[in-house]
Symmetry: C2
Subunit: 334 residues, 2 copies
DNA sequence: TTGAAAGCGCTAACAC
DNA sequence: GTGTTAGCGCTTTCAA
C-alpha cells in the first residue's frame, strides 16, 4: 500500500540512491536511467515522505509564525491580516506556515513547540516580542524576520512600516484642511513603531512652525486601545488644550477619541478632525468613518515570507530591512 | 550541539528504549529509573524531534485545511475567518494547521502536497470542493471534516449552518416589520447550503400564507457575488414584481441589491428592506448597514478541529454532523 | 522492568 | 553513472 523509494528502485531496476539523485535533480544521471526512474515514479504514484526526508536533510519545509498572545486573542485584525499574507505567499514558496502564540512574559518552558521539535526552517515574528525568544531562535541557528517591530539591540531582518511618512501625510492633510492646532495621542510607548509615530509628529509640526509643545502629546500609556484613546481625548478636552484635530497612533485609539468627542457633543469633522493609523476594520466601521493611513498588511506578511525564504536559501543577508510605504485614505472624520 | 535520545539514555545510564517508554508514558517503568530519565531530559533540555518520531509513528502532528482557490483568492472573509478559527483551536489540541488551496477542476497532479508527503493526520475542507479530492483523502485513510458543504453522495463528518432557521428568522423579522411582498435572491445553486436557503424561503413563505411564487425567487446564478445581486434586483424591479423586501442568500448579493436600489432611487428601508446572510464585513461597511444573519465563523473552524481531533483519536465516529445556529442582527437596511 | 536490535523512508558518502 | 551502505532520531518488538 505504502509505496517507498525502495519499490521505485526495484521496479525501475536501479539502486535507491539513483532514485534519490533523480528526485533531487543532482544531475549526473544518464538520460536513460532518469527516464526509467521517472516512469516508475509515475507508475507507482510515488512521492517522497516529508518526515523521512526531513530526518536526514534537517529541513521541515515549514516556517514558524510567532505572535504574542494579546495580539492574537484580541483578534486584532492587524496581525491576522499579516498572518494571512504569509499563508498566501508561503504556498508559492512550497512552505507551510505553523502559527503559535507566546506570552509576553517569556520563560524557558514556554518555548514554541515547533522550535523544540525542530519543525521549522525559519521564523517570522510579528509585533512586540520578548527579547528572549529572539535569543532562543538564534541559539538554534534559525533565520528569522521581524514584522512591525525592531528590538532595542541587535541586528535583525525586518519588515517595517514607514511610520514617519505616515504621520507626515496625516499632518499635511490636516494642515491642508485648515487645521493649525493638532494634538497627538500615542499608544504603547514600549513599541518602537509607536515611538516613531510620536517623534514624527513632534518633528513634522516643528517643520511647519506649529505648536508641538509636550502638552500636545499624550503618549505614555501602556496599551494602545480605544479606552486609552478615550481617556486621552477627555484629558485634552478637560484641560482646555486648544485643538481642532487629533492625530491618533492607530485606529483603535482614534475610535476611542471619536467616542469621547461624541460624548462631548463635538461635531466631526466640523468641530474637530481625527486621523487614525493602520486602516483596520475599525476605521471603516466607525461613525463617522475614519481618515487613516493604509498599511499593506497582507503584503508585509508576503514580504516577510519572501525574505525568510531567501535567508534560508542563503540568497539574502541577515539584517536586511524592508520599509513598506503607507497611504493616506481620506474618509469622513476629516 | 544536537541532543538526541541516545545522549539522554547515556547520561541517565539506561537504554534508549527506556527513555522512549518514559517519553510516551507507556508505564511499566520503575519510579526510580523514571526519575533518572526525567532528570537527564531536564538537564540536557531534550525534546524529541518531530520528523524522527513521525517517521516511525506515522503521525505528523499536523492537520490540513483545504479551500478552493476562488474562496481564498477572493480573500473571502467568510472562509478566512473559519480558517483562523481552526488555527486558534488547533493550538490547544497540539496540532498545527497546514493551509492549501485547490482548483475547482481537480486533477491527479494537483493533489495537495501535504497529502502526498503524508504530512497531515486529518483534513478539514471548507466550502465547495470537488468530489475527487474526497476520494483522494479516503484512499489515504485520513479522517476529514467538511465545513459549510455537504456533497451529493456519501456520508461525511461536517460542520453545517442552520440555513433554514436563518431564513426563518429573516422572513419573520420582515413580516414583523410589516412586509408582505418578499422576493429571494439566491446564489450558486450548486452549493447545497444555498439551495437550503432558497428552499427554506419558499417553505416559510408558504407557512405564512404569503406569495411564494417562483417568479419571486431568483436562484439560478452560478456565482454568489454582488454583481449577481445587482442584476437580479434590477430584474425584479424592471419586471414590476410587487415587492417591499429582498431576502438575499448572502451579504455580497445583498450589497449588490443595495446598489441596484440606490440606482433606482429607492429609499432603504422606507421603500424597500433588504436582509443578507453570513454577517461578513460587507454587511457593516455597506450603506445603509445590512440586517443579516450572523454565522459563527471562527466557532465553526474551532468545532471542525475539535471534531477532527476526536476522529483521529477514534473517540468520535465518522459521519458526525454538527449544525451551528445563526442569529439575526438587525441593522439599518430593515 | 529493562536492554538490544531492527527498522521507519530517506539522503549522502564512498566505492566501483 | 550507478550501487552499496551507513546513518538521521526515534519507536517498538522481542529477549533477558
Amino acid at each position: 500500500m505504502n509505496v517507498t523509494i525502495r519499490e521505485v528502485a526495484r521496479t525501475a531496476g536501479v539502486a535507491v540512491s539513483t532514485v534519490s539523485l533523480v528526485l533531487n535533480r543532482k544531475g549526473r544521471v544518464s538520460r536513460e536511467t532518469e527516464r526509467k526512474v521517472l516512469d516508475a515514479i509515475e507508475k507507482l504514484h510515488y512521492h517522497p515522505q516529508r518526515s523521512a526526508r526531513g530526518l536526514v536533510t534537517r529541513h521541515s519545509g515549514n516556517l514558524g509564525f510567532i505572535l504574542s498572545t494579546d495580539h492574537f486573542s484580541n483578534a486584532e485584525p492587524f496581525y491576522t491580516k499579516i498572518f494571512l499574507g504569509t499563508e498566501f505567499e508561503a504556498r508559492s514558496h512550497d512552505y507551510y506556515v505553523l502559527l503559535t502564540t507566546i506570552e509576553q512574559q517569556f520563560s524557558e518552558k514556554s518555548i514554541p513547540r515547533f522550535l523544540l521539535e525542530k519543525n521549522v526552517d525559519g521564523v517570522i515574528l510579528a509585533g512586540t516580542v520578548p527579547p528572549k525568544i529572539l535569543e532562543c531562535i538564534k541559539e538554534r541557528g534559525l533565520p528569522c524576520v521581524l514584522i512591525d517591530y525592531f528590538p532595542p539591540a541587535g541586528n535583525y531582518s525586518a519588515i517595517l512600516i514607514d511610520n514617519a511618512d505616515g504621520i507626515r501625510q496625516a499632518v499635511t492633510h490636516l494642515i491642508e484642511k485648515g487645521h493649525r492646532d493638532l494634538v497627538f495621542v500615542g499608544g504603547d510607548s514600549q513599541h518602537p513603531g509607536m515611538r516613531e509615530r510620536r517623534d514624527a509628529f513632534r518633528r513634522i509640526l516643528a517643520e511647519h512652525d506649529l505648536d508641538a509643545d509636550e502638552r500636545r502629546i499624550c503618549a505614555d500609556s501602556l496599551a494602545s486601545g480605544a479606552q486609552e484613546g478615550y481617556e486621552a481625548a477627555l484629558h485634552f478636552l478637560n484641560n482646555g488644550v486648544k485643538l481642532t484635530a487629533f492625530v491618533a497612533a492607530n485606529d483603535a485609539i482614534a475610535s476611542g477619541i471619536l467616542r469621547a468627542c461624541r460624548d462631548r457633543k463635538l461635531r466631526i469633522p466640523e468641530d474637530v478632525a481625527i486621523t487614525g493609523f493602520d486602516d483596520v476594520e475599525t476605521a471603516i466601521t466607525a461613525r463617522p468613518t475614519l481618515t487613516t493611513l493604509h498599511v499593506p498588511k497582507e503584503e508585509m506578511g508576503a514580504l516577510a515570507v519572501r525574505l525568510l525564504a531567501q535567508l534560508i536559501a542563503g540568497s539574502a543577508s541577515a539584517g536586511t530591512k524592508i520599509v513598506v510605504p503607507v497611504q493616506l485614505v481620506p474618509r469622513e472624520s476629516t
